[in-house]
Amino acid sequence: MNSVVLESVQKIFRPGWLFPRATRQDTYALKGISLDVSPGEVLGFLGPNGSGKSTTLKLISTLLLPDRGRVLVNGFDTRSDAQAVKRQVGSALASERSFFPRLTARENLEFFAVLEDLPRREVASRVMAVLCDVSLEDAADKHAMKLSSGMHQRLGIARALLKSPSVLLLDEPTRSLDPTATSNFWKLIRRLSNSGITILLATHNFAEAAAVCDRAAILQRGELIAVPRLNDLSVEALRDFYLDVTGEQTSPLDWPEGVPA
């Protein structure tokens, strides 16, 4: 069985009478995309801002509901079996502000671990294990408000790993990390993938996609235009392929983060 299945998924953001929105026009965030992801696969969503990467991840995480089509995680529908999906999906989609600032990194994770139904006796060891996974063990007793952006980023990933998810969703996971932390993070991704976890990550970064992803789902204005295999594909080859299929004449200036020079 596929880990994640998207069947003709359409997502439209509409201005509603009860939910005031700045825009008065419907926004077609996803225009009927279909995709299967195998267990243990690392799939990167590649595309510029507004292409639908984060929307896709939020649909899989149950934070959003599709307007048409359906999203399945290990056979569970995100619309009708949201609780079952939540138990299997770990997400690091939020901003770095998503921690309780006056609690330490460890206390934050202990709180979320209990909410994830981890048995009480396993909480402390599990929290320490995920802190070690993201190399934050030395910052365990620092208040969240005193952590750097990169540390917040890693803490968010540690939180996503707490429940030992079978599917991990990451939204631009290395955007605040320095080169060493980025390199360590890519190793962690490979290690998690080898242990059978399916990983879906949204990225602007060709180098990241080439380094860790088995396939890249290239999105453009809410449409899935190609899903190439990236086996041993170089960064340059991936970028050339991207420019070719999207028809864009992009330059490094269009890609503010992570574009190889």
Partner: protein, 263 residues
């Protein structure tokens, strides 16, 4: 597992409260000042004013103390959603294995728990001044339980409104002020004009306060107490399922519209 979650929420809120040191100190001092205010207010009004047959100070303590306790509980539902939206934790909390309604109810536990401490302090101070009243313990506990559950239901409505229109606090402020005026917090409902008394009767707070006063100070009047508890049970029967459905629908709509973290 639910107890472990409740303990985790209490611990989180306690640690946060303690680490905001100034706020913690003010939170302890403010109720003492409020208590003193009521004491001197009742002295200024004089002993001849005995609303519903009890000293005005006792009337005030139950009216304001219990009402404030219930309102703080309701506010905590709203505050939990508001703070989660502002700190960016709402989406993370919504993706945990704990359902949103459970999470909110557990968060309200902290507010009720800290409110109980304040309420007990009020009660003890009242006992020191006026001696031990003939309390109908079972009646008192029943009123307390029904009132807390009704507040939780109203809190869920408020949280749903916050998710839906992002201005749940305005609606709650209106409700709180109306109840403050009409529920018999500082003066008896009998002082209101006939039409407002009808509105007052439709508010669960009115019955909570009346029933609590009956249970604490007029334990002999069990008929009236049973009637008030019956009315509270009826409110609970209607409000609780309605609030759960309303909140779930609002969360679902927010997931559909993508506005879960908007504020």
């Amino acid at each position: 597992m639910i107890i472990a979650k409740a303990m985790a929420v209490l611990r989180k809120d306690m640690l946060t409260a303690i680490r905001y040191r100034n706020g913690f100190v003010f939170g302890v001092v403010a109720p003492a000042l409020q208590f003193a205010t009521f004491y001197y207010l009742s002295r200024a009004v004089g002993p001849q004013f005995r609303p519903e047959g009890m000293p005005y100070f006792s009337f005030l303590i139950v009216g304001t103390g219990f009402y404030t306790f219930l309102l703080a509980g309701i506010h905590s539902f709203l505050r939990t959603v508001q703070e989660s939206q502002q700190t960016g934790t709402l989406e993370v909390l919504m993706t945990t294995a704990t359902s949103p309604a459970t999470l909110l109810s557990l968060s309200a536990l902290s507010a009720f728990a800290s409110g109980i401490v304040q309420l007990l302090l009020y009660f003890c101070a009242g006992v020191l001044i006026f001696g031990v009243p003939h309390v109908n313990v079972i009646g008192c506990l029943s009123v307390f339980l029904f009132s807390v559950l009704i507040s939780a239901a109203i809190g869920l409505f408020a949280a749903g409104l916050q998710i839906a229109i992002h201005k749940g606090s305005a609606v709650l402020w209106l409700l709180g002020s109306t109840a403050w005026l009409m529920a018999g917090t500082m003066f008896p409902v009998a002082a209101l004009p006939a039409r407002l008394r009808i509105v007052s009767g439709l508010m669960p707070f009115t019955h909570s306060l009346t029933a609590m006063r009956l249970a604490l100070f007029q334990s002999a009047n069990s008929q009236a107490l049973i009637r008030e508890i019956g009315i509270l049970a009826l409110f609970l029967l209607v409000l609780m399922p309605a609030s759960v459905i309303f909140f779930s629908q609002m969360v679902r709509r927010a997931r559909q519209f993508g506005t879960l973290s908007f504020y």
